[in-house]
Symmetry: C2
Subunit: 352 residues, 2 copies
């Protein structure tokens, strides 16, 4: 006899918890995970024009924002739920939490639900390194990592795994953050140098990553600090009113962005004229636009994070957990035998 | 010693599965569940103006649509994921599946994740009955239920629980659907009459509910079928190109809607001039607008379903499961001890 409260296979959605995500990363290895993610992101940047690029759907309050970030390539549909509440830290909560969903466009059925706080950290680093692979000077080995918060270790390891850097020079206004990052990066095959100033961190660096948490216009890099022949990976300027670079640096740089419509509002280039020339990164990857022009150029990836990167990460995760089993089935969808008999399904589930 | 892979309480989001939802309904009783839902919906209709009423965010394909329906009252934020794929039935899948989420606006943290296929069926019926309580002729005891698909039993029981009907007269173009509904409604305290035509089902009915699945302009009710002094609860006309009533009936009716901007596109009134007069239901409930004017009037609730009803349902469910425990904690949110040390949390979770 069929147990009617037992959900059918179709009703079960694979769910990847935070614990599963951590196990998956250790199973694959973090560098292999980052390389895998970068590969999926690169594939999706190559077919950029196929995507339905909706704007974020934001709900603002006095203390924060809750956003839904949907996109679709016509075969799969993904969205991320993400909040941003700067005041949370002082209350012992995360500033940002996130989860995501992937669905099949043909049936509308969800095929994956997952945590996305860790996954976003991983995809952000993988995107940075994928961009640097195209834009950084050839043979770059040294990265300055300015801002040693939650993203610092992920950035360092992605640049090692994907671009082949061997040295990271850490600086943060808070020495405890630098110590934390240095401790976490110990034994990972990178030479780690703790620096006492931003200038010191940049000595000999071909890649400069800025990822600070200032919630206002800040000048982490001034014009005189930046020499020629470097790649700047600017992560921290990612919302209106929050930037990290002096405008003079932007004027000297070739600027690469994910999605200009969004970056002009949220990125470093919010400081520039609305028609300041930028290149879309996907066009560099397809070969439609040049990347670095010569060894002396300053390239700048003005990164704010875009829905397609989350979509790529969801695709990567779906494939990775299908292979490894790091998920549990979630009884999320009602699936009566007869679609017209939803009430009958409910009634038959009554306790005897 | 602390087990570092153990998520903290803050990281765990209560999850209500399909199985939990069915158990909750049986624990409360279906009529009590419907009354409870109607109460929450009525409270939210009374404070209609406080809501952030965003449009749906739809992703269309050749075979269906995937929608996100967010709303917020400034304290809580909710959204529903719902798909609509008419061709799914022929492939053994549901046309519509849904799940939802409620979050705390102050922290941005999700506080509830749940199935919403059953919950949507329940809230749709509760909304209809809540509207009929204000609009139907006094002392209505008999309902014609035209279209005996997935919504028929929920509508019948909600009208019994909330408006006090004692008789339901069933009709469907497919006699098997009528038999299914009659069987499911047996022993529930309603007199159930199976009818061979729409006309027969309407004999003596003070409330006429239409809920058919036609995906095109159809005329379930013609003008000569509808006498005076009835309330029409029109559920089935709920998307562009799908209606159930002859325009002549609409011209004779006082029309009540949820949200005119949406109903003029999706409801019965898509057949009428863009400025055809309608009354917003929330204004009837607050007393700002009249409802039924006299015993002879034809009132029409042109219902298409609105995000605030889902929000009310999510609020009801959160409170109901907090009291009863019909949920399981879901490890959805990464919550490192130190917000800056996300990587450390991942590293410490490495297998020994």
């Amino acid at each position: 006899m069929k147990i009617v409260t037992q959900p059918s296979d179709k009703a079960l959605v694979p769910f990847v918890s935070v614990d599963h995500m951590m196990r998956l990363v250790h199973h694959l290895g973090i560098e292999e995970t980052l390389r895998g993610l970068a590969g999926y992101i690169e594939v999706d940047f190559r077919r950029w024009e196929k995507f339905d690029k909706s704007p974020r759907v934001a709900s603002h309050s006095d203390v924060g924002v809750i956003e839904l970030m949907p996109t679709s390539d016509g075969e799969a549909y993904g969205f991320k739920y993400v909040n941003g509440h700067p005041k949370n830290t002082s209350e012992g909560l995360q500033t940002v939490t996130a989860f995501g969903l992937l669905a099949d466009v043909y049936t509308g059925y969800p095929v994956l639900l997952c945590e996305m706080t860790l996954l976003t950290a991983l995809r952000t680093a993988a995107t940075s390194a994928m961009a640097a692979k195209y834009l950084a000077p050839r043979g770059a080995r040294v990265m300055a990592m300015i801002g040693n918060g939650a993203q610092a270790e992920f950035q360092s390891l992605a640049m090692k795994a994907i671009c082949g850097i061997d040295t990271v020079r850490l600086y943060d206004i808070d020495p405890k953050a630098t110590q934390k990052a240095a401790r976490n990066l110990g034994g990972m095959g990178l030479k780690v140098v703790e620096c006492a100033s931003a200038e010191e961190s940049m000595e000999g660096a071909e890649i400069i990553t800025t990822c600070t948490a200032d919630k206002q216009y800040a000048t982490i890099l001034t014009d005189n600090m930046v020499g020629s022949g470097v790649h700047i990976n600017a992560i921290g300027g990612d919302c209106p009113g929050k930037t990290e670079l002096a405008p003079a640096i932007l004027h000297r740089s070739e600027i690469f962005v994910e999605y200009p419509e969004q970056t002009r509002i949220e990125g470093e280039i919010q400081q520039m004229a609305p028609d300041h020339p930028v290149t879309e990164l996907w066009q560099v990857i397809t070969g439609a636009a040049p990347g670095r022009r010569d060894a002396q150029a300053i390239t700048l990836f003005d990164s704010v994070g875009f829905a397609i990167e989350d979509f790529s990460a969801l695709r990567f995760l779906r494939d990775a957990v299908t292979d490894t089993g790091f998920y549990s089935p979630l009884d999320l969808l009602a699936d009566p035998d007869d679609p017209r008999d939803l009430y009958g399904m409910l009634r038959r589930a009554a306790p005897q």
